[in-house]
């Protein structure tokens, strides 16, 4: 099979003239076989991009909510292999861009090339592996990602130097995941002046890749604040909390509430 360059779904989505709403959820939570239904509901509710979280036993960059959902998902029996099986026919019903997000170790055990190949077969568009550093990626894995038309998404934080932001921008082909504050996931409540200044500072750098802001976005207000300065925003912990309280039936109301100005 030969792979030629086609515009990735993430790239076409980014070229749309609108602010993007992206949702993260942990695969295998609340129940092990909820993955496909959650994705279908998210698409129906008008979500733009979804990050499907591959649960890991030791999620270093995550706060309590995502840790707990990962632990439950693993207890429920979620594995990399099972997730791929669940997603096998996902492109028959879901057309929005799909990103897998997880820690590097499970990917390494699956085999990086094997993992990317599976992603391509299913129609996954990109990966976010927070603990795979830029230098390692470029030296060992960039070629494999490209071969399978997978976009690798990098993170930046308020502490990332401009020099490094420019390196990351140069290595990116989709969007830059802009972490809103120095924190793990799920820990902020509202954005203050400091974040506002950071959002503006990054916006003023005229990077080639659009930015999508994540961490600490939990309602319509924070979504509006974030997207004032960025192409879009990602909601994770707040969505998972809603899922644990209301289940899949709560998705459509949750998404419309976020979108409401």
């Amino acid at each position: 099979m030969s792979y030629f360059y086609i515009m990735n779904r993430i790239q076409s989505k980014l070229s749309e003239d609108k602010k993007l709403l992206s949702i993260y959820f942990t695969a295998g939570y609340p129940k092990v076989n909820d993955t496909v239904e959650i994705l279908q509901q998210l698409e129906k509710s008008g979500v733009d991009i979804v990050e499907i979280g591959l649960p890991f036993s030791d999620p270093l960059a995550d706060g309590h909510t995502i840790q707990a959902s990962s632990q439950t998902a693993l207890k429920n029996g979620m594995t990399t292999d099972l997730l791929f099986r669940q997603l096998k026919d996902i492109r028959k019903t879901v057309s929005m861009p799909l990103i897998l997000m997880g820690y590097f170790n499970p990917v390494l055990q699956f085999g990086v090339e094997n993992f990317c190949k599976k992603c391509a077969e299913i129609g996954i568009d990109g990966l976010i592996l927070p603990d795979l550093p830029l230098a390692e990626y470029e030296e060992h894995y960039a070629e494999i990602f490209r071969k399978y038309n997978l976009i690798n998404i990098f993170l930046i934080t308020p502490q990332t130097s401009e020099e490094r932001i420019r390196q990351i921008d140069a290595a990116s082909e989709g969007f830059i995941y802009m972490v809103s504050s120095a924190s793990v996931t799920g820990s902020s409540s509202g954005f203050g002046e400091e974040q506002e200044a950071y959002f503006k500072r990054i916006a003023s750098l005229s990077l080639k890749n659009p930015q999508i802001i994540g961490f600490g976005i939990n309602n319509s207000e924070t979504f509006q604040q974030a997207t004032k300065h960025a192409k879009g925003a990602i909601i994770g912990s707040a969505f998972i909390k809603m899922l644990s309280e209301e289940g899949i039936t709560g998705i459509s109301a949750f998404i419309s509430a976020i979108r409401k100005v």
């Binding site: 890991f56 036993s57 030791d58 999620p59 270093l60 960059a61 995550d62 706060g63 309590h64 840790q67 632990q71 693993l74 594995t79 990399t80 292999d81 820690y103 590097f104 170790n105 499970p106 990917v107 390494l108 055990q109 699956f110 927070p130 603990d131 795979l132 550093p133 390692e136 990098f154 993170l155 930046i156 934080t157 502490q159 990332t160 130097s161 490094r164 972490v179 120095a182 924190s183 793990v184 820990s187």
Partner: protein, 405 residues
Amino acid sequence: MKLNKQIPSAVSRNYNVNEKGYYGDFGGAYIPEMLYPNVEELRQNYLKIMAEESFQKEFRQLLKDYVGRPTPLYFAKRLSEKYSTKIYLKREDLCHTGAHKVNNTIGQILMAKRLGKTRIIAETGAGQHGVATATVCALMGLECIVFMGEIDIKRQAPNVARMKMLGAKVVPATSGSKTLKDATNEAIRDWINNPLDTHYIIGSVVGPHPYPDMVARFQSVISEEIKTQLKEKEGCENPDFVVACVGGGSNAAGAFYHYLNEPEVGIIAVEAAGKGIDSGESAATSVLGKVGIIHGSKTLLMQTADGQITEPYSISAGLDYPGIGPMHAHLFASGRGEFISITDDDAMKAGLELCKFEGIIPAIESSHALAIFETRKFKKDDVVVVNLSGRGDKDLDTYIKYFNL
């Protein structure tokens, strides 16, 4: 003295870290971007700072006056007779706070001060590293927060009390399996949340580069002293073998450090087999582990086929870590090190034997290293240095229960 091992030629024979932070194929810094500025700051400065004369002077002075170094190299006469070989014990158990851990915390607190950090965090399993960190924070008047698994807090009450007396705040890690690996995760998360004023004093030769190298350098005082002391006693700096237990691997790294590139010195790393390699309750990472990423380092670790990190088991809380430092993974993969695993029962027996033969109550971690003499035979004139990493006070409860004392 003789050549111990044939080293496979395809793998790196450099046993020190390279400029990219790797020992052979192991190491690196697999960290989320949130940690990059902190780790990078440390990476760019640690060698420079350690080379400063004022740093060396202060470090050496504290090791001498505060820790009580040099620790003796003691010829264990009766034990040597029993096993008909020449056994020396490097007495890290006589360090202030009762174990080698303090060599590292003294070094890192001085590093933290020079980096302008005012808040110190650490992880701890059994509480030894937590106590050693709380101690140096008290010494320097710095805020100290120690993360400890909820289960370990219950198991190690005296060390929790010690840390509190020393002014540290002990924060229970309630995530995951609620033990050492989760305490380490919590410490890392705290560092992500506090990137500016905080230094993370990691407790072993684990974590992202430059930690394994930095901690190994601070602990290398152990083998530096062994060389001088052995020269005095045996007329030769090099023993035939150096033996140390490996949890994360810091006491072993210190004991091996100046011998890594001396091929005539055999290096023996002793891991905890727990209830037996095949029992499902073990911490023998070199046997049961596979290459992966744990706490920012590419190394050998115990994990499921799906890449989830599993919970190890050992009777000694200090050996109860699902990985080993990247230096040790390389010593194993390259064949430079000989790896032996010792069960709970054999370690406990060896611990009691040292009490009876030499009047020294060892930490159960160290007892694992002592236990190899039952099965690993040495020649009569072999000089074998065992790193006695800690004393057994902290383990009295376990000894009492095990032997019905």
